[in-house]
């Protein structure tokens, strides 16, 4: 009997209510263990600040300036920077990927460079980003760009390359010519893959942010964290980490919603 129930669970996964219960339980247990660990005093407070400490820091940082600004203003500066780098990556990566998928010669020209460069971690661009574009706006954008660009390009490329041949033929027999073929067949056919690339790219771009902000002087969560680290202010470092994590989740949820919507309309399982 128990085995039957277990196997049924395994097939269907937990229900929505079970999921909420499990999620909340896990969260509470985690924070309780964390708080206990920091209260018992096996580890010094500066080594592992407790959750209550961190929460207090977050609240304080939201009205008190640290390293020149409040946490929210730092966060806003980071999001703005991320937005620019990410949009730039999408604006260059998607068209280039699509064209590479459609035109073999372009694929042959770009691929060797792209294939080797995409294994260079975004953080590795930091020295040159600062050198070439300065520590103002250009440098960090290049680092975020280098994180977000490869997934945008690769997924657009795959989307364009593996368009269902039959749909293209059907469109041809219905009289679709150049521009109409692009807008009504090739682009929509690639869209699920493009959006999947955006989602992965946004994640990697946001992750590259701290690295990017190591070379920024005046603002950003990454900058805040570096400053706090220099002052051994570990609760503030952790507050920055939590802020980064939460914004990351929010970005991912938004893009996932977009992805689901498209897959639904396209009749694909998501």
């Amino acid at each position: 009997m128990a085995a039957v129930i277990a196997s049924r669970r395994a097939r269907h996964g937990p229900s929505r209510r079970e999921f909420v219960v499990l999620f909340v339980t896990g969260l509470l247990a985690f924070f309780a263990a964390w708080q206990a660990l920091s209260m018992i005093g096996i580890v010094p407070r500066s080594f592992l600040p407790g959750p209550i400490d961190v929460l207090q820091t977050i609240v304080r940082l939201s009205y008190e300036k640290y390293s020149g600004d409040t946490l929210w203003r730092h966060l806003l500066a980071s999001i703005g920077r991320f937005g620019m780098g990410f949009l730039l990556a999408a604006a260059v990566g998607i068209p280039l990927g699509l064209l590479m998928g459609w035109y073999r010669w372009l694929d042959d020209v770009v691929s060797p460079f792209f294939e080797s460069l995409r294994f260079v971690a975004p953080i590795a661009w930091v020295p040159f980003a600062g050198l070439w574009f300065g520590t103002g706006i250009g440098g960090p954008i290049l680092v975020i760009f280098s994180g977000a660009f490869p997934p945008c390009l690769i997924n657009a490329y795959r989307g364009a390359k593996y368009v269902d041949r039959r749909l293209v033929e059907a469109a041809q027999t219905l009289g679709a010519s150049g521009p109409r073929m692009v807008t009504d067949v090739l682009l929509p056919a690639s869209l699920p893959s493009i959006v999947a690339g955006l989602r992965v790219g946004a994640g990697l771009g946001w992750q590259s942010l701290v690295g990017a902000e190591l070379i920024v002087v005046a603002s950003g969560v990454g900058y805040l964290m570096v400053q706090a680290q220099l002052n051994l202010n570990t609760p503030t470092v952790m507050a920055g980490m939590i802020a980064i994590g939460l914004v990351g989740v929010a970005i991912d949820l938004a893009l996932r919603a977009l992805e689901n919507r498209i897959n639904q309309n396209w009749g694909r399982e998501s």
Binding site: R166, Q172, T173, R180, V185, P188, G267
Partner: protein, 269 residues
């Protein structure tokens, strides 16, 4: 004049350095407003023949002419209905049916009028805004047929259009196709491997043998249909009960069988 003429068509494919012959010296024509079905086992090149008329493939030698012009590219004067429907998943039923008209630059209002007519004609009322994945296979193929008819093409090319449907749906679609082709007679080339379907629908049936694909025989069904008054019978099973139908079906079966026995014998030796 939307006649299809195959003149000494040959087609060889290259595969792994070897070339093999897919079609060998195929000549026949589909007259204006005639319904011709091609039957034959898989690998006999029947789909290749259809794709040549569509402008999606080309003969190695010989010529394929539609409306007295060599076929050089696909075009809306030769609508194709594919076995796998090939509907645009991101377009609603309405938009799928109207796509060819949109490509042709037909005005929105005119387009809506034509689409509405075919929605009604194909029994799709109420599903105009649905997406293909929300429809059954039979419904999807109705959309695909409507999409082809909406362009008012001179030539209709149907590549096993009912091959992916279950038996009951298939029968319904066959009856509807007969109804539709009586309403709007077209030059139709219809590929199938169902002998019954071919005899039920076609004026003439081209029987092919594979490797290399060539024409075994062309059977005139139209004259028998008219003489025996099949048109007066409402239902497909009534037609299939006719002695004349059974006779024709058996005749074609024997042609296909004779070929297979030949293969068996050749393999035994």
């Amino acid at each position: 004049m939307s006649r299809i003429v195959y003149d000494r068509v040959n087609r060889t494919f290259q595969r792994g350095g070897e070339s093999f012959e897919a079609l060998n010296d195929v000549s026949f024509e589909v007259a204006e407003k005639e319904f011709v079905a091609i039957v034959g086992p898989s690998g006999c090149g029947k789909t290749t023949l259809l794709r040549m008329a569509a402008g999606l493939e080309f003969p190695t030698s010989g010529s394929v002419r539609v409306a007295n012009r060599d076929v050089t590219e696909p075009g809306p004067d030769r609508a194709v209905v594919f076995q796998q429907f090939a509907l645009f998943p991101w377009k609603s039923v309405d938009e799928n049916i109207g796509f060819g008209l949109k490509c042709r630059g037909v005005k929105e209002s005119e387009r809506a009028r034509i689409v509405a007519r075919f929605v009604q004609l194909m029994g799709l009322t109420g599903y105009e805004k649905a997406y293909p994945h929300q429809l059954s296979g039979g419904m999807q193929q109705r959309v695909a047929i409507a999409r082809s008819y909406a362009l008012d093409p001179g030539v209709l090319l149907m590549d096993e259009p009912f091959g992916a449907l279950d038996a009951q749906t298939r029968v319904v679609m066959q009856e509807e196709l007969i109804r539709l082709s009586r309403l709007n007679p077209r030059t139709v080339l219809f590929i199938t491997h169902s002998v019954e379907e071919a005899v039920y629908l076609a004026d003439r049936v081209v029987v092919m043998t594979p490797r290399p694909g060539r024409i075994e025989e062309i059977i005139d069904v139209g004259s028998i249909r008219r003489a025996e008054g099949w048109e007066k019978l409402e239902r497909i099973e009534e037609v299939m009960d006719q002695e004349s139908f059974v006779h024709l079906r058996t005749k074609i079966w024997k042609l296909l069988r004779a070929y297979q026995e030949g293969v068996k014998e050749a393999m035994a030796h």
